[in-house]
Symmetry: C2
């Protein structure tokens, strides 16, 4: 009975892809494609047709529509890889590079079609009270996106920030609070505007410029110099 997806409480974006057949991943890729072109088009028949599989297989593998969507979101989240941070020998220049890289990656992801589509989907259905009838029903999409998105980026940057504090490059402060301000400086109103359908053209150079500005502002706020 290894062909049904185990709920796997909060799989930390690792083995989630391993638990999927090649064929199943094809199905999820098809779902993602449909999701990007128009979230309203993601019906079971459309997915089945696009993936050249039968609806019955979809239900067998993913339980119901929500299960398919949850698996899709988790699958996509598992694709995002990050380079680990090496905290030794930290200089201002290196920390700057780390922060700018992080900001650039964040902006690149958030402005991508994929992130917008997934966030739209999760936001749209972020309501259903957890009153789940069957035991197989999966978690809220909003939680999944939060867990693999915002709530995984924070801890990811945390070691860099704390190393910066330890090295005297950043003022000693709550690293979580510092991160949230950095996040605000990076993202500003970009994400909400995109989610609401505003069209913003963002070139690679724009993104690096934004990342540099945010990093510079962040140092200005959390740098060691006296306030």
């Amino acid at each position: 009975m290894a062909d049904t997806l185990s709920p796997s409480a909060t799989s930390t974006s690792s083995d989630v892809a391993d638990a999927l057949t090649e064929r199943q991943q094809q199905v999820l890729d098809a779902t993602l494609e449909l999701l990007i072109e128009n979230a309203a088009n993601v019906t079971m028949i459309a997915v089945a047709r696009k993936a050249s599989c039968s609806k019955e297989t979809l239900y067998k593998w993913f339980g119901d529509r929500d299960g398919l969507l949850a698996a899709t979101v988790r699958y996509q989240a598992s694709k995002v890889k990050v380079a680990p941070f090496d905290g030794a020998d930290l200089t201002h220049a290196r920390l700057t590079t780390v922060l700018e890289g992080f900001a650039g990656d964040l902006l690149t992801i958030l402005t991508g079609k994929m992130s917008i589509a997934l966030n739209r989907l999760a936001i749209a259905q972020a309501h259903q009270h957890s009153g789940n009838n069957s035991a197989n029903s999966s978690e809220n999409l909003g939680s999944i996106v939060l867990q693999n998105g915002r709530f995984s980026t924070g801890p990811r940057l945390k070691p860099a920030l704390e190393a910066g504090m330890a090295a005297g490059l950043l003022r000693n402060d709550d690293s979580e609070e510092a991160f949230r301000s950095f996040y605000g400086l990076v993202v500003r109103d970009i994400q909400i505007r995109l989610l609401l359908g505003d069209v913003i053209s963002f070139s690679k150079t724009d993104i690096t410029a934004e990342a540099q500005r945010a990093t510079e502002q962040f140092f200005s706020l959390y740098g060691p110099q006296t306030p």
Copy 2:
């Protein structure tokens, strides 16, 4: 034939309420109530029942479901009033008060159930290409929310920022850019987390504290002292 709503390209949150009958406003209030408790419950029958009117009346007044939703969003947006800004005699203390007040208002609105529900709705349907068949069809919900939300807050604070620059309280810079950074410092990750279903308890004191922090950070970034 004054009982059908004129499309009214981008009514600037003024006469929109005046063009509505008392009864029609009751209908829109009912729609808002349903929307807050669960966006999925906003069906034509549910609205009709809650407002004690007939479906036919809804269609007569608002054209179709999208028209009803658009009217609802516009109606709610028209309720948000702002105190005008008096730029004479600007001191640092007064500008601080203005900024903190603005930030507090913004946070209060964005964290409110109403804003979350409306943004969820607009984001969920922010896809449909403007391919509108009938001439009566109304504008995209996302555009309406953006227009009455983010895109009206910017110009609203603009005079204060530029007056601050003129008075030497703020570094000379693009006021729009400055506003966007201020926005980021105020909102940070709050709105996206709320939209995704994260539950954040925000007391009145929390909000004023956040507003003060953001304002202080903003002054630190855009104050006149040398970078």
